[in-house]
Symmetry: C2
Subunit: 345 residues, 2 copies
């Protein structure tokens, strides 16, 4: 990976931090020549969220905090808030983070769908499943659309790697770190990364259940967190839109979208499209964690390979069906019911 990624990480931390200081650590100093970032020490008991999810810890404010982070960072770096001039300045700046973008393209949108050197899966259990992904024409048509959108569509300054390993938490604090992949891309890529990784955490729970803790309540907490994350994000995002509807945002000029019914219809259309994008990217992120190069601790920490494979297979099947049928989902509740249909309880 390029050393220059530190520049984009520091830039994105500063930009997003300026928009949502509660959930982005402060950068005190950045030295581009040395690729050195001096930033807030995120003190214990903060841990990486993914580790908390593996351990079965509930974070009651996680959904609220992440909804806040996503709504603010995405809204304020989009054309709903900015002039085209400011927007294109940002787009041009982050075009230079292309090496990181290319890495994502390869590991998320390409390798899982072909015979690639570093692909791996829980073998031999999932060999046929991985092969099925590589032979699934319908899936490949959908992933092509998402890949093009990922590269072509400069909708907002996205974190670019917003999985549960990029978030540090305590029960009352949520800090988003590591935006080294930041670029102007589709908003759904961030939202999907977060939700998709929560769904992975959900499917991994059966592998962590033991006699002391069957994880049933925890699975419900994860599902509730997924539901709340989207619904709170939706609310906060639309609230920001309404609050700033008479500002400089180029996309919906007040003299055109000049009545509340029309604005409300426009918002509904925008949010539905964003929801479906998020489901698409979220499922793509799930698939790549099961049959691609980089796996997640949620599954990796399940020692029994057969048990791990069975959790992974359910997650994979669920992700494939969401990716293909994402436009049919009308609400996050429907998605959650669908996710639940892949498990026994």
């Amino acid at each position: 990976m390029t050393r220059e990624r530190a520049y984009f990480e520091a830039s994105a931390l500063r930009k997003h931090g300026g928009l949502c200081s509660d959930h982005v650590p402060e950068v005190y100093h950045f030295d581009r020549a040395m690729s050195l970032i001096g930033m807030r020490y995120i003190e214990p008991p903060h841990i990486i969220l993914r580790k908390g999810l593996v351990a079965g810890v509930e974070y009651p404010l996680l959904a609220e905090h992440m909804a806040d982070y996503m709504a603010k960072t995405l809204f304020f770096t989009s054309l709903l808030y900015n002039s085209t001039t400011d927007h294109k300045k940002g787009v041009a700046q982050y075009c230079e983070n292309v090496e990181m973008g290319r890495l994502t393209e390869q590991v998320v949108f390409s390798d899982p769908y072909m015979a690639a050197k570093y692909n791996r899966c829980t073998s031999p259990f999932l060999d046929k499943d991985a092969e099925a992904v590589r032979g699934d024409d319908e899936l490949k048509l959908e992933i092509a659309e998402l890949k093009s959108m990922f590269i072509e569509r400069a909708q907002a300054l996205v974190h670019g790697d917003l999985h549960t390993g990029s978030i540090m938490v305590t029960t009352d604090s949520t800090q988003v770190i590591d935006p080294e992949f930041a670029f102007y891309g589709p908003m759904g890529y961030d939202i999907g990364a977060f939700l998709g990784n929560l769904i992975l955490a959900y499917f991994s729970q059966d592998g962590h259940a033991d006699q002391a803790n069957d994880r049933k309540a925890y699975k419900l907490w994860i599902l509730k967190t997924i539901e709340d994350s989207w619904n709170l994000f939706h609310k906060k995002f639309v609230d920001l839109w309404n609050k700033h509807k008479d500002g400089n945002g180029e996309a919906y000029l007040p003299p055109i979208y000049n009545n509340s019914e029309l604005l409300s219809l426009a918002q509904k259309k925008y949010m539905t499209s964003l929801f479906h994008d998020s489901l698409g990217f979220g499922s793509a992120k799930m698939i790549r964690r099961i049959v691609g190069i980089a796996h997640v601790e949620d599954f990796e920490s399940i020692e029994d390979a057969s048990k791990r494979a069975s959790c992974e297979r359910r997650a994979l099947d669920c992700a494939k069906s969401i990716l293909k049928g994402r436009r049919q989902f009308e609400s996050i509740e429907k998605v959650i019911a669908h996710v639940q249909s892949f498990t026994r309880d």
Copy 2:
């Protein structure tokens, strides 16, 4: 308008000229400080296509030439041919042509849908029609989607102003000039501009008919040219895709899209989406020429205001219905039948 637009015009002429030298005049010299372009003199009897269309002159090679120009300039500057690295370099460069982009946003996607100072129409005949555009919520929802796509989606290096006034012709030569609005945007914006302006020319013919020439045959020639332009573009574009499918294009990697049936499905999906984008942008370009600031000679040269208004109204009604229903059209033939349904013959 900024003086810097000469830089983007010269850059785009050179880039597109390198891809399609038959239909783009050569640039001999460019001086950025002086904003001076030394380029091929496009000699008589070349005239601006729009003037030829007003005069009722047939150009038998126009569809073939424009299909060639659009297929080559769009395909070779897209992710179907280029690596992401090269693509993002181009995107960043043309982000600086933002002032020209903003002008387009205003005159094409904003002003016609609001009470704007410089809007005009053939008054009083079309006053109510213009007002209806400004009060049409369904239309405003569609134009918002197209506007966002125009700004956000860097699909290819588009000409950015490909109407019939940017094309010089003789019966056997077609030269595309004036790409001062060039930027990385949706391909459909160029295709739509060309087709939409041909449809405007079609609707203007009743206003140019006289006893010597009822223009009926000419109207059919225009419709045939629209049909051929899309169909030939489609063929040439897909031919280029097939020819270069094993190249460096990032969007559809050969190890993934590894069988001809799948590739063919991917192409069908891509081209259908491009067709609908083109219809959307094409109708937006038609609407703005009737109720926005800049009108076209096709209509302006009809001296009788009542007759002009009646031609314009048909074009406007047609454009509105295509913009709203564009996803229902399966072929250019269906679009042409729809266009014809707005005239008496």
